[in-house]
């Protein structure tokens, strides 16, 4: 089994009309043994910027700590929050620094940029950025997520519909992957508020 599938993960971010959704599963496993059913993979950097880290759980947590550190430093120096595009470049640089001894993580970045325009991107474990206009996926369930999102996605969805589509896509996909599941964790972010939802799915 690949090191990226050691803990099992599923992350998806999707763009809607002036909003975005970012969702993950909640399982943490050690190969086929489930060890936690409330593992957090999506982290808030600031009110309009979230990052989801799939892959090895330990690297996800370490990388998150480094990113929070760098963002706080940025806030002190610039006296403002980082734009999502800038943050994406930061993550990419931090990953490539470790080119020959990498973090085994695939990040998914989602935020509201200038004029609250939704921004999503993902990158591989050494920082190759992939921008998308519709959705990005990561984790051991990524193939299933690609299929489900491709079939269910529509452009310019309102937050309620977007939340429904992301939930359906996530739950359908993790049900076909034995390494991810145990429910879902969704954040719907609009310019005014952040809605957090825990989904109950197949608990296996």
């Amino acid at each position: 089994m690949s090191i990226f599938e050691y803990n099992g993960s599923a992350i998806v971010a999707m763009v809607g009309k002036n909003c975005f959704a970012i969702a993950s599963d909640r399982r943490l496993g050690v190969n086929l043994q489930t060890v936690a059913t409330d593992f957090q993979r999506i982290f808030k950097i600031h009110d309009k910027l979230f990052v989801g880290l799939s892959g090895l759980g330990s690297d996800a947590q370490t990388l998150y700590q480094r990113l929070v550190f760098r963002h706080k430093l940025y806030q002190l120096r610039e006296e403002r929050d980082m734009k999502p595009e800038t943050f994406a470049s930061l993550v990419s640089a931090i990953l490539y620094e470790k080119r020959f001894g990498p973090y085994f993580c695939q990040p998914v970045i989602a935020g509201l940029g200038n004029d609250d325009k939704p921004f999503i991107c993902t990158m591989d474990f050494i920082g190759a950025k992939e921008l998308a206009k519709d959705f990005v996926v990561a984790g051991s369930a990524s193939e299933s997520l690609y299929g489900a999102c491709e079939a269910l996605f529509k452009p310019d969805m309102e937050p309620d519909e977007l939340s429904e589509v992301v939930s359906q896509a996530l739950l359908a996909s993790v049900d076909r992957d034995c390494l991810s599941g145990w429910g879902g964790h969704i954040y719907i972010v609009t310019p005014d508020e952040v809605r957090e939802k825990i989904l109950k799915g197949r608990m296996d």
């Binding site: 299933s144 690609y146 299929g147 489900a148 491709e150 079939a151 269910l152 996909s173 049900d175 076909r176």
Partner: protein
Amino acid sequence: MSKQQARFEPYDFNGGTCVAIAGADYCVVAADTRMSTGYNILTRDYSKINKLADKCLMASSGFQADVRALQKVLGAKHLIYQHQHNKQMSCPAMARLLSNTLYYKRFFPYYTFNVLVGFDEEGKGCVYTYDAVGSYEKVGYSAQGSGAKLIMPVLDNQLKSPSPLLLPALDAVTPLTEAEAIDVVKDVFASATERDIYTGDKLEIVIVNADGIRREYAELRKRLIH
């Protein structure tokens, strides 16, 4: 450094995706028509769906030379059965025959990923799904091939059949009508074509019902990158 010698590689992967759905009084089986090897396309017009008996069809992806060989073997066995029993093989019987034929080559397998469709003894649609060495299961719907992992979650979500993941196993035919099932098939193939390089070109859909067997075609994206 170990000596590098030229080795004969017995298998190739020709790609492609197959999907099958069973309804109360119909069956739909669909496959794309692209045949590839590596990053090249060998042909855009290759049928992966084959008739094994009057109302029993098989769609196979994987290594098409093995698929052809498998069809020949099944065809021969079916002919002998017809001579001995004076009737066509039923779908459940053909399903078991396919499983045994695949397992016969357990230690040098047919590199084929099959779905079999037909009508069971009660006249309801049935789909049998296989792995390469003959493990099989009667289900209400299935996908096999390079795009299968992209398609299965969508079928789970859209067909409103009891999922094969439920226990105890429930009767699996979808409550959707024939036209709705065909629409779902076209949608999932459009999605799989976007994200899987081995799937594309044309979609061949074969529908089996009380009136007989009907064939439809739908266009899919031809370019790998766009």
